[in-house]
């Protein structure tokens, strides 16, 4: 495994020759060995067209490429870090929550409207995620940041899970999501319970939820 959790807020990544890592720019805390950090102009993988895609989609968090041989410590802003290992499946996560990921993973930008049509777009707006999100697929490890620790909620076909859009971090597996509204007359007169919008996730997979309603 390329990432090791040192404590809840720091990870140690091992880089070997011929392997690449991508990390958020400026997230390196310390390193050992011969490691080079190159700012990544295109903001990830896939060349110029992907770069334009990310710029347009506003999913262009500055990334850097980490190469060489040695170990690197990553951490950012005192946020909790969760390592998620992918074995062939796809993780959906906001670009600004990505701390680091292995170069073996394929990175792509997903249009949320493609998942759920118009409601998908509304969902992006309500949850502050925008209309696009980043997907990582393949085999490898991803380090994701969250405010106040993360817990996993399994999603099964019989049990869909509802998540507060502000507390949603990432999900993987074969999961459909849609925005469900529980808007009633109470919300109209300012007597809402503060839970008017929820993300409904159904299918098979896992959703990662943070212990806070604060966005990064």
């Amino acid at each position: 495994m390329a990432f090791r959790e040192l404590n809840s807020k720091m990870i140690e990544a091992t880089v070997a020759p011929g392997q690449r890592l991508f990390s958020q720019r400026g997230a390196m805390l310390a390193y050992r060995g011969e490691v080079s950090f190159t700012p990544n102009l295109t903001g990830g993988q896939g060349g110029v067209m992907s770069m334009i895609g990310r710029r347009v989609a506003n999913e262009d968090t500055p990334l850097m490429t980490v190469e060489g041989s040695g170990t690197v410590l990553f951490g950012h802003g005192g946020h909790h870090v969760q390592v998620i290992n992918l074995s062939g499946d796809t993780l959906y996560v906001e670009a600004d929550r990505l701390l680091a990921f292995e170069g073996t993973l394929r990175q792509a930008t997903v249009f949320l409207g493609a998942q759920g049509g118009v409601m998908g777009m509304v969902r992006g707006q309500v949850s502050g995620q925008g209309l696009f999100t980043t997907s990582l697929s393949g085999h490898g490890a991803v380090a994701v940041m969250a405010h106040g620790g993360v817990f996993e909620v399994p999603i099964t076909a019989q049990r869909p899970v509802h998540v507060d859009p502000q507390a949603y971090v990432a999900h993987h597996g074969d999961v459909r999501n849609r925005l469900s509204t529980a808007l009633g007359w109470r919300d109209m007169v300012g007597r809402g319970s503060g839970e008017a919008f929820q993300l409904e996730l159904s299918g098979n997979g896992t959703v990662y939820v943070q212990a806070s309603e604060e966005k990064l």
């Binding site: 007597r191 319970s193 212990a211 806070s212």
Partner: protein, 210 residues
């Protein structure tokens, strides 16, 4: 039915019963849940008026349904309290969730509230059931008995339960007036028999400045 998942997330398993929780503190749920805001802390018209008058505002919602509901608030540490007929005093800002069967109310705290910067009133929970309170950092529970009274910094006080008398003491000396105080000018003293919850952090209080 209340259980902690880690130290910052409260999971509540529900089978048709209800809990009261801080407005907007749900982070996830499975199964079927309904959320309803309770005006005036669910204490009826009288509670609504009292809370308005005392400034001990608490926006609470009632969560009812079947399944598991997870609660968290701004990554605060969560402490579970079991009440067996006794009374828990907690600041409304530290309240996260409680069994719907617990009665909530407000009481006068006297000078302590003013020194805490929390107002002169506090919230009480009474009855049989469980409650979850929040603290900034993991809270310690200190036992107070007849022989061992306890003195607490008002900014670090979170909650207390049991049969306790509280008095307010000040350590203001001529040094404080010169601006040479130790930053511990005011304290709350608990006597009697009960438990006090103290957090490893201090709220901004007037007492901390002198």
């Amino acid at each position: 039915m209340f259980r902690l998942q880690g130290s910052k997330v409260l999971a509540v398993d529900m089978t048709g019963d209800a809990v009261k929780a801080k407005n907007g503190s749900m982070v996830a749920y499975d199964g079927e849940m309904a959320f309803k805001k309770l005006s005036g802390g669910g204490e009826g018209i009288r509670g609504m008026v009292t809370r308005r008058l005392t400034g001990e505002q608490m926006t609470v919602m009632e969560v009812k349904g079947h399944g598991t509901c997870w609660f968290a608030d701004r990554a605060s540490e969560i402490n579970l309290v079991t009440l067996q007929g006794d009374k828990l005093y907690v600041e409304s800002s530290n309240f996260l969730a409680a069994d719907a069967g617990l009665r909530t109310g407000t009481t006068f705290t006297g000078a302590r509230g003013a020194a805490q910067g929390n107002g002169l009133f506090t919230t009480t929970l009474e009855g049989h059931g469980q409650a979850a309170i929040m603290s900034d950092g993991p809270a310690v529970v200190l036992r107070v008995s007849a022989q061992y009274p306890l003195t607490v910094d008002p900014g670090a006080y979170v909650a207390h339960q049991g049969n306790l008398r509280q008095s307010f003491q000040s350590g203001v000396t001529f040094r404080t007036l010169y601006g040479e105080g130790g930053g511990e000018a005011f304290q709350i003293r608990f006597e009697g028999d009960g438990l006090v919850y103290v957090q490893p952090s201090e709220r901004n209080t007037i007492a901390g400045d002198v």
